[in-house]
Each structure stands twice: as structure tokens, then as C-alpha cells.
Amino acid sequence: MNIVVCIKQVPDTESVIKIAGDGKSIDTGDIKWVMNPYDEFGVEEALRIVKDQGGEVTVVGAGPARVVEALRTALAMGADKAVHIQDDDLYGADPIAVAKMLAKAIEPLSPDVVFFGQRAVDDDSGVVSSAVAEYLGMPQLSVITKLEIADGKVKGTRPIEGQTVVLEASLPAVISAQKGLNEPRYASLPGIMKAKKKPLETKTPADLGAERSDFIEIATLNPPPDRAPGKTVEGETAQELAANLAKLLKEEAKVI
């Protein structure tokens, strides 16, 4: 089984995010970068499939030089090799532009399965996996929490409002992983040492023969509003407190 896992490097959710001077991007100066958590489910699933069925896992990521750190983390978890599409401007670009680059890099690898996280936790666009499926002419099983691969077919389960839907397609296919698919492993110390010696290929968009095609651009980024201060419910007796609370819930919070 030849598996590709696409990885996006995103700010650690513990990092303090500040909007940059241009109002359209974030200030990346003091940010700690990590692998998108949903992508970890993809890496873990790929490693499990290869352990059972044999094969190879290639991780692919696009963006500035720092993206190599996220690729190395996947190699330390156990992936076999990595491809880095190096382009400083690709972070924050139109997802379609990113998808086109990724598709160009993935195509020559002839994968049976391509994993993505169901979305990246920084921009929440959730577009790239579908666009790559389109460019590669593959079916996509999205937001998957359970997966079976056998006899050239893939069967995936997606939870919907307490129900589940089971999807089936023939390989090759694109899968976008949702939380619950598995428990991603931690990189081991021996894994980290081995990762340094695993092949990591760097390609530029020109090497891939890919042209940037941006259809959208970010107009503005707005910080979340300051959290409104809490309100203390006033009242002398329990009845009075309850009545005032109910009033606030009804008239101000409008939840009852």
C-alpha cells in the first residue's frame, strides 16, 4: 500500500495570535509551529495500515523552510520519507493554489490512498483535500472516523448528528480524517533519531511545473471581540435570585 499524507504546519493553539500590520495576515514572529492536529490522525492511520498490509508512507507539506519541522515530526512518528514544496508565499494563500501544488507533487508518487486532516485549525477552510481529489481525479471520503481498506476498496464512516453514514469507493482515494479515527502516537526518541536520516526531498513550484492560481485573497482578519464581563445576579432570597436569573436568561442572553 502506497500512502501519502498531506501535512500543514499551523500555529500551536497555545500561541498568542496577533494580526500583522497589513490586517490580512498574522504576525508570525513569536509563534510556535506544530503539525495540524487533524493531520496527525492521517499519519497515525497511514502507519497502522502499512504495519498491517505493508507499504510505504510519504508525507508531503508545502510552505516556508520551517515546514520541514512538521515533516520531521511525521518521520519521527514512523513515516518513511517526506517531500517539502518550498515556497515562502504559500502560507495563507488561496487553498486552491495550495491544492494544485500538492496535487502536482503527489501525482508522481502514484499513491493508493491520500490522507488529509479534515481541516486545518488555523484557517478552518477545509477545502484543500477536496480540491486535491478533484485535481487527481480520485474519489474523496471526507470527515472519516472509521476506516477499512481491503480488496482495492475503501470503506469509511462519517458521523452525522448522532447517526453515521458509511461511504465506499475504490482505490485510489482521498480520505480526510476526523477526530476519533485513532489515537495518534507520540514521536519516540529512537524515532526522532531515525527521522534525521530519512529522505526528505525539497521541491520548488518550478520543479513541479506548477503555476500559482489564486482565485481568492484574504480581505481582512478581525480579532475576536473582547470577552464581555460577567454579570452578578442580584437578589436577597433564593426565589428572587432565581427570578432575576430567569429574567436575564430570557431578556439579555435570549436563551430561554
Binding site: 519541522e69 520531521r72 507520540y186 526518541l189 526522532i192 533519531m193 534525521k196
Partner: protein, 600 residues
């Protein structure tokens, strides 16, 4: 609820900017490493800490081990963590490749383990004990013992322990009485009782391997008749594990650090408890001290880690809790301000930070000496060993003693809430209290420092320490922002020298009791000087970084470092004067006081 327990930024500052840990990769032993791989290990350790260990901090306190039907039952997370630690390579990370390790520098491993301890000391203690026991078997054990025990221990499946204490022999190891009777079959028959054995029995591991001190029948009395044995709970026999006649007699209920059982063991009730000698007969204490010195540094690290978690809990609370108004503001209609706006709260935060970050710096300094001694350039090895040996009691005691005070300040900042179990600081205050006690009490450390370490090799270790500190004082004298602190440290070093001379004079006169009666105070003075030294080093790194053009967030970090350094020199180091005054007096007050004076 608090979410932060360590500062990853601070750990990197200490490693790379203060200690220059990058240098380690230049030595042959660590040639496969570079800063990127160190960083990946630090990141992985932080994830394990925040995702596996920290969420179970309260669980292990609320549901301590139970003793049922002769079995010690612990929370399932213990087995899960030990298995993850085994798979992750954490048990033997610093061991040589041929021993199944990864040759990770002690310094990097210490920084990683510090995060584990801060997230959950009880859970990390199981891991530390396996590592220590495994190293002892690898260093002194026969090939057969190594093959039998080490693989399962490296995988985190078998627990290791250090079994020293007995009901009548705690700090006084000379009184160890567990006996070992030689047989013709290569093993000894062990009988007797051990108490207070940490992780001495539990269902989170498939077996327990005790590294136990015992006395071979007919051995001389005192410490020169003590030998070291491997005594497993289950012994491998004919391809399976069979009972080794080692029973758990009971479990103690502890004040804190409640997630790790401390048990009483009974060996040889049926005269079939087998032990295997490790190293030479009667040389057990020397072997055990290898594990013990390592354990003492680990205690300092753990104390510092618990104080770190309490510091961040109280810091977060002080930023969120609105209470009171600025002193000049008389209008009650004016909104209240966060606690952190009050000077006395900031004093308590600075104190905690000064203790935590000063101690961590000293611990990493000790780790640097450990790496230098074992794997550094030949010419620096002996000196590194002497410095490590000298500083070990300080590294153990300063964070332990001051950690109690620091966690108490964390409780104080939370006020009434801090005293309830709604917030984590009361647990951390209880968890901290073991550290001045285990692996040699503060009293023992004081006597070790003054009675042995300060004198050893005609005071050569102490001279080396004075040189090390002198170098950094000289560097700081040339930096405007640090000159006042350099001056204060010079004075404090003078106080330490005078105190040392006064005590050594008593020793020369043969006044042994008088010489050591205030050894704990001497240790405290030494600790203040050593931590002041580490703060000066941090000041040097911060001042130098501020000369570049760091971002606003980085400027805040470095200025916070300088502020905390100034706090230490203004509020903590002056205590040296009071200690030095007492240490210069030779009236032997506590020696002269009679037990009868306490009659009523």
C-alpha cells in the same frame, strides 16, 4: 483551571542561551544530535506532559493506591504511562547505544524529565525509579542479571526500586539488618523487612525488581558490611515468573505525592526469597550511592518542578482574580483590579519565580557537569566530577526547602480558595513536602556538604567552585546593568569563605559535634550563593540578548528575567548575612542544650 505548568521558553533560554547546550553535539558521544533533535525531544516531552501526565495530576491524588488482598492497586494511567515511556525510549534515554539507550545528554533528559515532574510528580517517580535501578544493574550487575532484568525494565514493564530503609534504619544506614545467606546455587536467601519503599509493589507493572541493601551473614557491622542485591518480586524460573517469597505487608498513607505507593515489604517468610549479589560483597553502599547521587539531583529537579506548577497556577489566578483597588483609590464604585496589580502579590510571584528558575538553572548546571564528567573533553572531566559532587547536596536541598516556601506563597496568593481543593495549589503544597525528607534529609545533606564535600581533596572542589563563580562575576562587572549584583555576590562569596574557615577551625580542634551542629545553616548559605550565581549567569544572557533587537514579547521575557534577578539579589541573598553571623559563632548552643531542658 490552570493549564500551564512549565515555561518552554524559559527551558530553551536556560539550555541554549545560558548553558549553551548546543556545545554538547560537538562531543563524540553526542555526535548524532543537534539542536533540532534536542528541540524535537523537548517538544515530545512537553506533549506527553500536557496530554498524558497533567490531566491525571488530580486523579492520582484523589484516588491513591489501595491495598487489597495483598495486592497494591494503582490507577490504570500508571501502566499506560510506563508503557508509553518504554515505547518512547525514555527509560534508558541517557544510556549508551549498546546498553539499549540513546546516548541522550543528561542535560536534555533532565529538561524533559523536569516537564514530566511538573505535570505529575507521582507518575514520573515510577519512571525515575526504573531508570535508576536499571542503570545500577547495567553498571555493577553480572551479564546474567543484565540479560534477565534490563530488557523488561527498559520497556517500562518491570518496576525498579531502591530498597534501603528498614524500620530501625532510616537515615542511619549503618543499622541495615536485612540478612542474606549464601547458598551453593549462586543466589542468597534474603530475610527481613523493608519500609517506605517507593513504587515497591503495584499492578501497573508486571514485576518489581528491588535493588536492595542487605547484610551477608557474618559481615562486619556498620556500613562496611552492607551488600547490594537484586531481589525480584517474581523470579524468572524455567521460562516463567514464579513467586519469590517477597510479600507486601502494607501501604502507608501519605500527606502528598499520593499517586505513588510507599510500601512495607517482608522477605523470606517461607525461607525462599532469593537475591542476587550486585557488585562486590560488602561494597553495596558504594554501588547504591551511584543511584543515590542521581536520585538526589532528581529530587531537586522534582521539587523545582512542583514549585513551577504552583507558580503558574498562582500567576494565572493573580491575573484573573479581581480584588481590591490601588492604595490611593478611595472610590468604592471604581472597579476592582486584578491581584497582580498589588506589590505584595508581585513580591510573592517574584519569589516563586526566583526559586523556580534559579533552581532549574542550578540543576541544569549540575547536569552539564554530569555530561562533562562522563563524556566531555578529557582535561575537564575530573574538575566536573568534583564540582558535581560538591553541588549535589545543594542541588537536592535548595529547591526542596525553598520549594516548600514557594508553594506556600502560591497558596497564599489564592487566599481562602488556595486552602480548598477547588484549586490545585493545596495538593502541590502537600506534594512538595516530601522533598526535604526523601533521599537524604536536609540535615544529612548539610553534614554531607560541610563534613565531607567542602573538605574533600584539601578543599579543592570548593576552590573550583569559587573559580567558576569568580569567572561569571568578572564578566558581570563589565555589564552596567549587572555590576551591583556582581558586587553583592562578591560580598556573599566572602561570607561563605569566612563561614567555611570558622567551621574548619572547629573541625581542626576536634570539636566534631560543634563543627557540624549548624551544617544545615551552612547548606542554606551555600544554596543562596549558588542560586545567586545562577541568576547572575541568567542576567548575563538576558542583558546580552537585549542588546540585539528582540521582538516586544522577547523584550518582556528578558526584562522579566532581569527583574527576577534583581529581586533575588535584593530580597533573598541578603539572608546570607544573618546565616554568616550565626555560622561565625562557636558557642555550640544546640550541642549544649540538654534533652532534659525539653521536659516541659
Amino acid at each position: 483551571m490552570a493549564t500551564k505548568f512549565v515555561s518552554q521558553r524559559n527551558i530553551r533560554f536556560l539550555l541554549y542561551e545560558v548553558m549553551q547546550a548546543q556545545r554538547l553535539a560537538d562531543w563524540p558521544r553526542f555526535s548524532e544530535y543537534d539542536q533540532e533533535s534536542f528541540d524535537m525531544m523537548l517538544d515530545t516531552a512537553h506533549r506527553l506532559s500536557s496530554e498524558v501526565l497533567f490531566p491525571a495530576l488530580r486523579e492520582l491524588d484523589l484516588e491513591p493506591p489501595r491495598f487489597e488482598d495483598g495486592k497494591v492497586l494503582v490507577r490504570p494511567m500508571v501502566r499506560q504511562f510506563l508503557s508509553q515511556a518504554g515505547e518512547g525510549g525514555w527509560v534508558g534515554a541517557t544510556f549508551a547505544y549498546e546498553q539499549g539507550g540513546l546516548q541522550l545528554p543528561v542535560m536534555i533528559n533532565t529538561a524533559c524529565n523536569f516537564m514530566f515532574c511538573a505535570a505529575n510528580y507521582s507518575a514520573t517517580a515510577y519512571l525515575g525509579l526504573i531508570t535508576g535501578a536499571t542503570r545500577l544493574i547495567l553498571t555493577f550487575g553480572s551479564e546474567e542479571l543484565q540479560e534477565t532484568y534490563v530488557p523488561a525494565m527498559l520497556e517500562g514493564r518491570w518496576q525498579g526500586t531502591m530498597a534501603l530503609t528498614e524500620p530501625q534504619a532510616g537515615s542511619s544506614l549503618a543499622d541495615v539488618a536485612v540478612s542474606a545467606e549464601p547458598t551453593d546455587e549462586g543466589h542468597y536467601l534474603i530475610s527481613g523487612q523493608k519500609i517506605f519503599i517507593s513504587a515497591g509493589d503495584h499492578d501497573g507493572a508486571d514485576n518489581v525488581v528491588h535493588l536492595m541493601l542487605a547484610r551477608i551473614k557474618g559481615a562486619p557491622a556498620g556500613v562496611k558490611g552492607i551488600s547490594l542485591f537484586v531481589v525480584p518480586k517474581l523470579r524468572p524460573e524455567g521460562g516463567e515468573l514464579v513467586s519469590n517469597d517477597l510479600a507486601t505487608a502494607g501501604l502507608f498513607h501519605k500527606m502528598g505525592y499520593r499517586g505513588c505507593p510507599i510500601v512495607q515489604l517482608s522477605m523470606g517468610e517461607n525461607n525462599d526469597c532469593r537475591g542476587w549479589l550486585v557488585g562486590e560483597p560488602h561494597r553495596g553502599l558504594a554501588c547504591m550511592f551511584q543511584m543515590m547521587n542521581e536520585a538526589r539531583i532528581s529530587v531537586g529537579k522534582a521539587a523545582c518542578a512542583v514549585a513551577s506548577t504552583a507558580y503558574y497556577a498562582s500567576l494565572q489566578y493573580s491575573q484573573e482574580r479581581l480584588q481590591g483597588r490601588p492604595l490611593g483609590a478611595k472610590d468604592p464604585a471604581q472597579p476592582q483590579v486584578p491581584l497582580i496589580r498589588h506589590a505584595d502579590i508581585k513580591r510573592m510571584l517574584l519569589m516563586q519565580r526566583a526559586v523556580v528558575e534559579g533552581s532549574l538553572s542550578l540543576i541544569l548546571q549540575a547536569a552539564w557537569y554530569a555530561d562533562l564528567h562522563s563524556h566531555g573533553p578529557e582535561e575537564g572531566r575530573e574538575e566536573a566530577f568534583l564540582l558535581l559532587d560538591l553541588l549535589t547536596p545543594v542541588v537536592k536541598s535548595y529547591p526542596s526547602e525553598m520549594g516548600v516556601i514557594a508553594t506556600s506563597a502560591a497558596v497564599q496568593i489564592l487566599g481562602g480558595y488556595g486552602y480548598t481543593d477547588e484549586f490545585p495549589v493545596e495538593q502541590l503544597y502537600r506534594d512538595m513536602r516530601i522533598h526535604p525528607i526523601h533521599e537524604g534529609t536536609t540535615g544529612i545533606q548539610g553534614m554531607d556538604l560541610l563534613g565531607r564535600k567542602a573538605k574533600m581533596h584539601q578543599g579543592r572542589a570548593l576552590k573550583l567552585f569559587v573559580q567558576e563563580v569568580g569567572r561569571d562575576i568578572a564578566a558581570a562587572e563589565g555589564v552596567e546593568a549587572l555590576a551591583p549584583q556582581a558586587q553583592r555576590l562578591t560580598v556573599a562569596m566572602g561570607l561563605l569563605r569566612q563561614a567555611t574557615e570558622a567551621k574548619m577551625a572547629l573541625a581542626a580542634e576536634g570539636e566534631l559535634e560543634n563543627f557540624l551542629s549548624d551544617a544545615t545553616l551552612y547548606l542554606e548559605l551555600f544554596g543562596l550563593v549558588a542560586i545567586a550565581w545562577q541568576w547572575l549567569k541568567q542576567g548575563l544572557a538576558a542583558a546580552s540578548a537585549l542588546e540585539g533587537e528582540p521582538s516586544q514579547a522577547e523584550q518582556d521575557f528578558y526584562n522579566g528575567k532581569l527583574a527576577t534577578m534583581r529581586y533575588f539579589f535584593a530580597y533573598e541573598l541578603p539572608k546570607a548575612h544573618g546565616l554568616a553571623q550565626r555560622l561565625g559563632e562557636d558557642d555550640g548552643l544546640t550541642v549544649a542544650v540538654q534533652a532534659e531542658h525539653f521536659a516541659d
